[in-house]
């Protein structure tokens, strides 16, 4: 009987373990040093804000693991001997595997800023980061957040619930404009500001300044402005957590390089989730996608391969979601931040500043490429099939109501959106 060892108990590793168990009786061990049980990383913010307690982040009750014979081991892997198929921990003990799945996730980026290792400077990725944030915000009056991404805006929301003033440094001219088209980005920027956040566009960090005790006391921007603060949130993206594998036989780049079967250069060693980097990609997808859904899908796929049904990883249409304070965001297909010869955008925005959609389509063929939707919920299934059926933008807009997923009795905007589309098209 194979012993499959999974390093990392996040969504990728745990999904893989669950699906292996559905199909086989192999011995499964999941190793993690972060937490006793699988938890939802995306929900860390809600514990800090008092919406939930830690136990609510755990999707399975504690008896689940034993019942499904998924062994959990709390330890930190220091070294791997790929020849002998052995894992080594910080203390003297080794652990053998037949097949190894690396699902070690991400760390937040540090770009070598001066003062980035001072006390009170941190990111928010792990359970330990959350605990640290509790300590770091004990007597915190003002925080500076570096980097306008999804973790940054979550951190801003968290800190505001404790009445901490937040200055938010964003490189782009609109929030998350490296992903969102400018109108979308600007609407989110306005919304963030309306929550009392001091949002600074086109502002970058020069250095972080410490006091005599090695704690952060201020930051300096590239424009030379000094902003005093007791916390600096490093939210300028994440990168694969693979430092402990750097000098091994494992081929890595930014992440662990894997083929389409999610196998590394070493036989019987696989990598999934945030830490994996695909050697080749399809359908405009990126080699590293540090999102929940990709981790889950890789786990689902790899479990098939590991249980005797080799299955290449071929994700379908891109989708994602987030929430910016009150505004929910969903996206289906691809919407580039900037238009091009191959991509035009139709943008509609509600006058209340909390609802908008941007639809990307091909200027000549009118092929529907993707949608960003803000404040209006849309059906995944409907957009997935429209993308597969190569629908045109006219069709999408004429049938938008089918895709609406808002709660009952909500006001509809499809007619207004359709009218706006017709009018703009005539002007163009």
């Amino acid at each position: 009987m194979d012993h499959i060892v999974i390093i990392g108990n996040g969504i990728a590793g745990i999904t893989c373990a669950r699906h292996i168990r559905k199909n086989s009786d192999a011995r499964i061990t999941v190793i993690s040093s972060e937490s006793d049980y699988f938890f939802s990383r995306t929900a860390l913010m809600y514990v800090y804000m008092g919406h939930m307690k830690w136990q609510h982040l755990e999707p399975y009750e504690n008896w689940f693991w034993e019942k499904n014979r998924i062994e959990l081991k709390k330890a930190r892997v220091q070294n791997i001997d790929f020849q002998e198929k052995k894992l080594f921990f910080s203390y003297e003990e080794s652990f053998s595997y037949d097949k190894l799945v690396l699902a070690t996730g991400s760390n937040y980026n540090k770009f070598g800023w001066e003062g980035e290792n001072l006390e009170g400077v941190q990111g928010l990725v792990s359970k330990q980061d959350l605990q640290l944030l509790e300590d770091n915000t004990q007597n915190c009056k003002r925080a500076v957040i570096i980097g306008g991404g999804l973790i940054g805006v979550e951190l801003a929301e968290m800190l505001r619930t404790r009445n901490i003033e937040v200055t938010f440094l964003v490189r782009e001219e609109g929030f998350w404009h490296n992903v969102l088209p400018i109108e979308d980005a600007k609407m989110i920027s306005r919304h963030i500001k309306s929550h009392g956040i001091d949002l600074r566009h086109q502002t970058e960090l020069e250095k972080i300044n410490g006091d005599e005790n090695g704690r952060v006391k201020s930051i300096t921007t590239k424009d030379g402005e000094e902003i005093s603060c007791q916390l600096v949130g490093l939210c300028a993206g994440v990168s694969p957590n693979i430092d402990f594998l750097k000098d091994s036989a494992l081929e890595t780049d930014k992440g662990i390089l894997v083929d389409e079967f999610l196998q590394t250069n070493i036989k019987n060693v696989y990598a999934i989730g945030d830490c994996a980097q695909l050697r080749s990609t399809r359908k405009k997808r990126k080699p590293i996608e540090a999102v929940w859904y990709t981790g889950r899908m890789m786990g689902e796929t790899l479990a098939q391969t590991l249980t005797g049904k080799p299955m290449p990883y071929r994700p379908g249409n891109w989708f994602n979601s987030a929430k910016f304070f009150e505004i929910e965001y969903q996206t289906y297909g691809h919407v580039a931040p900037k238009t091009s010869a191959e991509e035009m955008h139709f943008h509609w925005q509600h006058k209340d500043n909390t609802k908008a959609i941007t639809i990307a389509f091909h200027p000549e063929t009118k092929l529907f490429l993707g949608i960003n939707t803000f404040g209006i919920r849309m059906r995944h299934k409907v957009f997935d099939s429209w993308l597969n059926e190569n629908r045109k933008i006219d069709y999408v807009l004429a049938n938008l109501k089918q895709a609406n997923f808002d709660p009952e009795f909500y006001r509809n905007h499809e007619k207004e959106i359709f009218r706006s589309f017709k009018e703009n098209l005539q002007q163009a």
């Binding site: 919406h51 982040l57 999707p59 404790r162 796929t301 929910e328 709660p407």
Partner: protein, 527 residues
């Protein structure tokens, strides 16, 4: 983990702080409450109309001002900041104080009304006397402890309904639903029965349906209907039509939510005054198992009890009235058996093993009791006199369970303990909702991030996430359709819908967004 929570309670000052306006509003409300407490202590207010208006008015105004200050200054959206840090909503000191206070109030109300000022053969004193002017104004009679309770209950639904509407003003489903429970409480549950009694008609709340209204078929009630002539017969007929026609049709079209979270008074209080405690429900599989056994046991009890009281009310002589004791008894046995057979024939596959055993067990118990009674020729059905059975049911279920535990323990066990574990009406509606209804909560493809907000804020203790993260629709008999799971979901994953019966219960092993071949392969194999 303990460190996080420990620290949070220490640093959580910001989200729990009260503003100046909120403090003043609390003061105003407490003054109103204080007047009631003084009157319990037998302070005899000179002008009762004035002081009663003052008391109720101050309570209402305090709550309204408090909620307005709490919510209106902020963006419309989810307002759960600090819920677990606050003493009152986080099972802290104030939660226990409130829980104990409410429990004592219920005990006194049910079993020691004399302490509230109810005097046998004499004028009311104390708290009940304070409510005399209002009672006389509406029904023409002096107040009883039930009138006091009904007034406070209605007031709670109204003022906390306003609070709820302000809190969820971003969500039209929640706003409309709350207007609906406020309307049915004020009109149907409070005013109509009182006005009927002013008109010398039987006390009747059309929205209180058997078996929640376990007294509908008791002897004194049937007497009051029949002695009221046509009006009484219409009431009884409406009661029967509600059970056998209106309820099944509406539940088929909309799920049990049409009643439990739009009409019902128990649900109304749970959704308004009980809203701050909705996250306290137990989500474990253990408590789900307890729920299924407990609620169906209560359903069996109320069925047996109701059959007993009607049986004892009827006569033996077919020439006087076609519905004799025997006809009724065997008619009931036949109806229950037929219902059982229909479910087992058409819906067997949708029932889990324990549900099948449970159903068989319960049917056998009921039929056995009926047969034993019949063949022993005992007039006292079910071994004890029917009225005794009704008294015991009223004491154990009607008062202790639905009142003391159901409401008294809001701050400890959550706001839907009665609805989840005890209400026989919810059991019937739930059975239909699970097996024969268009209602479901749809899961939006692969968008779930397993965050747990839906499960945490489900007042019925449903582990919503367990379904959502599998891409599975939520079709659970206990779901009252309050819509909060869909509201707190940060990724737009859940939607309450009435749609085709086909594909209502689904389970995607591999979620939307992944390889189409893999999804097909795995999901076909799962079937």
């Amino acid at each position: 983990m303990s460190k996080i929570e420990h620290n949070m309670s220490l640093t959580g000052d910001a989200p729990v702080k009260l503003s100046i306006v909120q403090r003043i509003a609390s003061g105003i409300g407490l003054i109103g409450l204080f007047i009631l407490i003084l009157s319990i202590a037998n302070v005899d207010f000179p002008n009762k109309t004035l002081f009663l208006s003052l008391s109720l008015g101050l309570i209402a105004a305090g709550t309204a001002v408090f909620s307005a200050d709490l919510y209106l200054g902020k963006h419309a959206g989810i307002k759960n900041d600090g819920v677990w840090f606050k003493s009152l909503s986080g099972r802290g000191f104030w939660a226990w104080i409130l829980g104990i206070g409410l429990t004592i109030f219920y005990i006194v109300l049910y079993w020691m009304p004399q302490y509230l000022g109810l005097n046998a053969n004499a004028e009311n004193t104390g708290l009940i006397a304070l409510f005399d002017p209002l009672s006389k104004f509406i029904s023409g009679n002096p107040a009883s402890q039930w009138f006091v309770y009904g007034t406070l209950y209605t007031l709670a639904i109204l003022v906390f309904g306003i609070k709820f509407i302000l809190k969820y003003r971003n969500n039209r489903y929640e706003v409309l639903r709350t207007f609906s429970v406020m309307f049915f409480q004020l009109g149907f549950a409070f005013l109509i029965p009182e006005i009927l009694s002013r008109l010398n008609q039987p006390y009747f709340n059309p929205a209180n349906i058997w078996p929640l209204n376990y007294d509908l078929f008791s002897g004194y009630k049937l007497n009051s209907f029949f002695s009221a002539g046509n009006v009484g017969v219409i009431m009884l007929a409406f009661g029967l039509i509600s059970i056998f026609v209106i309820t099944p049709i509406l539940t088929y079209k909309y799920g049990k939510r049409w009643y439990c979270s739009w009409v019902c008074g128990c649900g109304g209080l749970a959704e308004t005054a009980g809203d701050p405690f909705r996250h306290l429900s137990d989500k474990s599989q253990k408590s789900w198992r307890l729920e299924r056994w407990l609620i169906h046991t209560v359903l069996v009890l109320v069925t047996v009890m109701s059959i007993a009281v009607v049986y004892s009310y009827l006569g033996n002589n077919a020439s006087e009235f076609w519905l004799t004791k025997d006809v009724f008894l065997w008619g009931s046995a036949g109806f229950l058996t037929l219902l059982f057979v229909v479910i087992m024939v058409f819906k067997r596959k949708e029932l889990a093993k324990d549900a099948q055993y449970g159903a068989i067990g319960f049917l056998v118990v009921i039929l056995a009791i009926i047969s034993i009674n019949y063949f022993s020729g005992n007039g006292n059905i079910f071994f004890v006199a029917a009225h005794k059975l009704r008294e015991w049911y009223g004491f154990l279920i009607g008062a202790a369970f639905s009142g003391v535990i159901g409401v008294g323990f809001y701050p400890i066990f959550g706001n839907r303990v009665w609805c989840r574990f005890g209400c026989p009406m919810a059991a019937i509606l739930g059975m239909q909702q699970r097996l024969f209804s268009k209602f479901r909560i749809t899961t939006n493809g692969g968008q779930c991030i397993s965050c747990g907000n839906c499960s945490t804020y489900c007042e019925m203790g449903i582990d919503v996430r367990a379904y959502a993260q599998k891409g599975e629709n939520i079709v659970r008999s206990s779901c009252v359709g309050c819509g909060i799971c869909a509201s707190v979901c940060p990724r737009g994953v859940l939607k309450l819908e009435n749609d085709d019966l086909d594909g209502r219960i689904n389970s995607e092993e591999v979620l939307l967004g992944n390889d189409v071949d893999l999804m097909d392969l795995v999901n076909q194999r799962a079937k």
